[in-house]
Symmetry: C2
Subunit: 508 residues, 2 copies
C-alpha cells in the first residue's frame, strides 16, 4: 500500500461550504467517473456503471411487463428528418453535433448526431403502422445521445454525451396515450424512490418548460437541499399528433380518412446517478443506496495486533470469508477485504469513501461471540448483529437502510417546500435554499416575470448564504398532488385568479 | 387480416440463386431490420435486438466470471489521442467520421466518432494504473461504433454504425495477456457454437490481416457455403506493449525503471446476427436457433371448420393457452397465436417466415389424445409429442434442435474445407465455393500473390457457377488445430518450406 494513496483518501471540500468542489471530489475519489480530453464528456467507471446496469434491469422489467420492446435505431439523423417538426428542431438545433467529414472527404450533406430519436424513429413507424392491428406500438431503446450544450458541464448532471433510455409509443386514442405517459412516469418515480432512495414530486411542466414538440410534459422533480436547487429527474411527454401528422403515421379510419396516432416519448438518463450522489453523500465521501451498490456489505478483519497468534489471525480471516460466502449465497453482493499490510482504519476510510452501505467487522471477540459489529454508512450507526441466519438478517438490514435513507432525504426535501401566497415571501424562501409552492395563473408572461424578479437577492443580510446563486426561479412543475384547492387563490405575480399551486425554484 | 399482408408473406428470392437479394428479403420480411435514411445505418427491430440481448447476457456472465468490469467511455476522441499509435491511426483514419460543427458554430478542432476505443481508454488507464496492485485491469464496454466504410454496406455484416462489446485488459506479463486473449476468443467461439449454433474455426491472423497496432490477432472464422465465402466472426488481439509505451501505462519495476503493461483488446459485434441468419435461414425465411429466439415455441389452433361446435372451438383455444402457460412456467418463451379470422395456414407461414424454432398444433384430436403435433422449423420434421411433463419435453426438444442445427451447419462447413497442396487445385476449389487449407510460408508477398492469382477464374466450364465472385482469396486464419504437421510441406505459392496450413478463401 503506497503512502501516496493514503494521503489521497477522503474528501477535503465540505458539502455545506463548497458544494460543487465537494461533488467533483466525491465522484473522482470514489472512482465513479473520470474526465476525458473532450470537455463535457465523462468516463463512467465500473463503480457508477453498475448503478446504471441496476437501473436498466429495474426499468427493463417494468417495460417488458408493459409490453414495450427493445430495439436500436441509428445514431445519425439526416438534416431533412431532423427538421420535420418545427418546434422540435427549434428546441434542439443549437445543441446538435454535426458530422461533416469522413476520413478526409467532405460528406455531401452534414449528418446530425441524435440529441433524441423522435425524428429517426418516426419515419420507420410510418412504414410499420398500417392498420389498427399494428397498434399500440411500444418501443424503447437504451443508447447514447449528444447535446452540445455550452452551459457549464457537470458530470452526470449536464454532459455533452449521456446515456439514457427513450421509449416511443403510439396509440389509437388520446386516452390510451395519457395512461401510458403516467405509467412511464410512475416507473421513473419508482427508480428514484424504490431503487435510489431519492424522493421525487410528480407533476406537469408549464407550457414554457415542456419538451420541444410535445402536447404536454410530465416530470418527476427532485431537490438538492444543500444548494437549494430543484432538479428534473425524468420526463414523460405526450406528443399528441404533432409528429404523427408530420411523419404521416396513421391508420385508415371510418370514411377512409387517415386517423393519425397519438404518440408519447419518455426518457430516463444517467443524470439520475448524479442526483443520487448529491442527495445521499456526505463529507466522508459517497453514500450508496444498498439496492444499486456494487458491494453491499464489506467485511473487514479487525483487532489483529502484534500479540495475536498466527492461528487466531487465520481463524479471523477464515471467518471473514465464511461470512462473505454466506451473504453471497443469500444473494447479497458481499466482499471480504483481506488485503495484507493495510490497516483496518485505512480500509474503513476506503470503503466509506466508496459508499459501501454496511461494514461488518470480525475480530478475536467475534470468533466466539457468534456476532459481528455492523457499521452503517449513511447514519454512522454501529450495532451488534447475531450471525444466526445472517443472510436474511443482512437482507433485512439493507432494506432498513434503504428505508432510512429515503426517509432522511424525504424529510430534508419536505422541509424545503414552502407554501407561499404573496410575492414578498418568494425570494426570501429561495434565498433560504427552499423552493416555493405558489398560486399561479399559469401564464408564461408571469413565469418570465417571476424568473426576473427572483434573480435579485431579497436582502443583504449576512445570515443569508452569500454564495447562493442569484439565479431566477423557474417553474419546476405543477404537482399532481396539490396542497389545497386553488379556487380562492390569486397568482403571486399578477394577482389574477390562480389555476394551480406550482412549484417554483432555482434549479439545475 | 388484410389481404395485402397475405401477399407480402414469404420470400421470393432463392438462397441458392440470388443470395444477396434473399438475405435482404429474409431480414426485412422477418422484421429483423429496416433501413434508415442514412446509407449503411440500419434499424435493429425487436426481433433481432432480442438476439443481441441474449448475446449480451451470455457474454456478460462469462466476463463477470473472469473478473471483467463494465464501464462506459465517451463516444468522442480528440484528434491528438487518435493519432498517438501510428499503425492504429493509419488503419482507421480513412473510415473515421468527424464532428466539426455544433449548432451553427464550427468547433475549434474536429472531434472523431470512435471507430474503436483504444485511444480513448488508454489515457485513463495511464492515470489509473500506478502500482502492481492495480493489475490486472480488465474492463469492457457495450456501445456503438462508427466506421464510415465505402464498400457496399450490408445489414449486420457491414454497416457504418454497429453495436459491439470491446474488452480492454492490462497485465504485468505477456503470458497473462496471452491467456486472456485465448479466454476471450473461447467466449466468442461459445457464443457462435453454443448460442447461435454456428460453427467456427479458431486461429491466428496473418501479419497482413492483423488489427491495426496489434502484436498478434486471433480470430474465429466462419464460412457461408451458399456463396463460398469466409467471414470473420470475432477477434481477440494482443496489443503487446505498443499502446502502453505510447500512452505511458506502466508500473515501477526493479531498479525504478517503468515496466510497461501488456495489453489486449477483443471485440464482438452485431455482425454475428448476420452470420447466424446466413447460416441457418432458408427459402421459407428466417430460421432462428432456439436459444436466442424471441419466441421459442408458437402454438397454433388447427382443425376448426364450419362443423366445429363453438364449445369445441373454445376448448381448443383454452388448450392452446394452457399449453403456452405450461411452457412459460418451465422457462420457455412460448406464445399461443389465437388471432381470429386468420387461417392456420397463414399463421404457419407467418411464424415460419419469422423463424420460430417449433410450432405446436392443437386441434380437435389433441383435446382427447394428450398429444400435440410438433413441427420443427429447421428440418421441416413433424412428430407427435406427449403432453406429459411438456415443459421438460419441450426444453429437451429445443436442445435437440440446437444440436441438430449446429451439426447440419458443421457438416456443411467441413464439406467446404479442402486441403490443397498444389497451386493448380486452389482456384478450382474456390470456384467450387470452398475454402482451402494450404501449406504456406507465412510471407506477406506470397499472400498478395495468392490473392492476385486466385482472382482469376480457373476455368470457363459452365458447370462452375458463373455468378461466383472473381474475388481474390485472402488468408482467413492459421487454424490452431492444424490438419497435420507441416514440416515436409512446401508453400503452394513460392515452393519454400511451409510454416503452417493456413485457411485461405474468398471472404466478406
Amino acid at each position: 500500500m503506497s503512502n501516496e494513496k493514503e494521503t489521497k483518501l477522503g474528501i477535503e471540500a465540505k458539502k455545506e461550504v463548497d458544494f460543487s468542489a465537494w461533488y467533483t471530489q466525491v465522484l473522482l475519489r470514489a472512482e465513479m467517473m473520470d474526465y476525458s480530453d473532450i470537455s463535457g464528456c465523462y468516463i463512467l467507471r465500473p463503480w457508477s456503471y453498475k448503478i446504471w446496469k441496476e437501473i436498466q434491469a429495474f426499468l427493463g422489467q417494468r417495460f417488458e411487463a408493459a409490453g414495450v420492446e427493445d430495439s436500436y435505431f441509428p445514431l445519425f439523423i439526416s438534416q431533412g428528418a431532423l427538421q420535420k417538426e418545427k418546434d422540435h428542431v427549434e428546441g434542439f438545433a443549437p445543441e446538435v453535433a454535426w458530422v461533416t467529414r469522413s476520413g478526409s472527404s467532405e460528406l455531401p450533406e452534414p449528418i446530425a448526431v441524435r440529441p433524441t430519436s423522435e425524428t429517426i424513429m418516426y419515419p420507420a413507424y410510418a412504414k410499420w403502422i398500417n392498420s389498427h392491428r399494428d397498434l399500440p406500438l411500444k418501443m424503447n431503446q437504451w443508447c447514447n445521445v449528444v447535446r452540445w450544450e455550452f452551459k457549464h458541464p457537470q458530470p452526470f448532471l449536464r454532459s455533452r454525451e449521456f446515456l439514457w433510455q427513450e421509449g416511443h409509443t403510439c396509440f389509437l386514442t388520446k386516452s390510451e396515450a395519457d395512461q401510458d405517459v403516467l405509467q412511464a412516469l410512475e416507473s421513473y418515480r419508482a427508480v428514484y424512490e424504490d431503487l435510489l432512495a431519492v424522493p421525487m414530486i410528480k407533476g406537469m411542466k408549464s407550457e414554457k418548460e415542456r419538451f420541444a414538440g410535445a402536447l404536454y410534459t410530465t416530470t418527476v422533480e427532485g431537490f438538492i437541499p444543500s444548494v437549494g436547487r430543484g432538479i428534473q429527474g425524468g420526463t414523460s411527454h405526450c406528443l399528441g399528433q404533432n409528429f404523427s401528422k408530420m411523419f404521416k403515421i396513421g391508420v385508415e379510419g371510418k370514411d377512409g380518412e387517415t386517423e393519425y396516432v397519438w404518440q408519447n416519448s419518455w426518457g430516463f438518463t444517467t443524470r439520475s446517478i448524479g442526483v443520487m450522489v448529491m442527495t445521499h453523500s456526505d463529507n466522508s465521501g459517497l453514500v450508496l443506496p444498498p439496492r444499486v451498490a456494487s458491494i453491499q456489505v464489506v467485511i473487514v478483519p479487525v483487532g489483529i495486533t502484534a500479540k495475536t497468534s498466527a492461528e487466531d489471525e487465520e481463524k479471523i480471516q477464515a471467518k471473514c470469508t465464511e461470512l462473505a460466502n454466506a451473504l453471497i449465497a443469500a444473494g447479497i453482493r458481499a466482499k471480504a477485504d483481506l488485503r495484507a499490510n493495510i490497516t483496518p482504519g485505512w480500509k474503513f476510510n476506503h470503503w466509506e469513501l466508496k459508499g459501501v452501505p454496511v461494514r461488518f467487522e470480525v475480530g478475536p471477540k467475534e470468533l466466539t461471540s457468534n456476532q459481528t459489529r455492523a457499521c452503517i454508512r449513511y447514519s454512522g450507526e454501529k450495532r451488534q448483529v447475531s450471525l444466526d441466519n445472517i443472510g436474511q438478517v443482512a437482507k433485512a438490514l439493507l432494506d432498513e437502510i434503504h428505508g432510512g435513507m429515503f426517509a432522511k432525504a424525504k424529510t430534508a426535501y419536505d422541509a424545503c417546500i414552502k407554501i407561499v401566497e404573496k410575492w414578498e415571501d418568494v425570494t426570501p424562501a429561495l434565498d433560504n435554499k427552499c423552493c416555493v409552492l405558489i398560486p399561479w395563473c399559469e401564464d408564461s408572461t408571469c413565469e418570465d416575470q417571476i424568473k426576473d424578479r427572483s434573480a435579485v437577492k431579497a436582502t443583504d443580510d449576512a445570515a443569508v448564504d452569500s454564495r447562493a446563486p442569484a439565479m431566477g426561479a423557474k417553474s419546476l412543475c405543477i404537482p399532481f398532488d396539490q396542497p389545497a384547492k386553488c379556487t380562492e387563490k390569486f397568482c403571486v405575480q399578477c394577482g389574477k385568479p390562480a389555476k394551480s399551486y406550482t412549484l417554483f425554484g432555482r434549479s439545475y
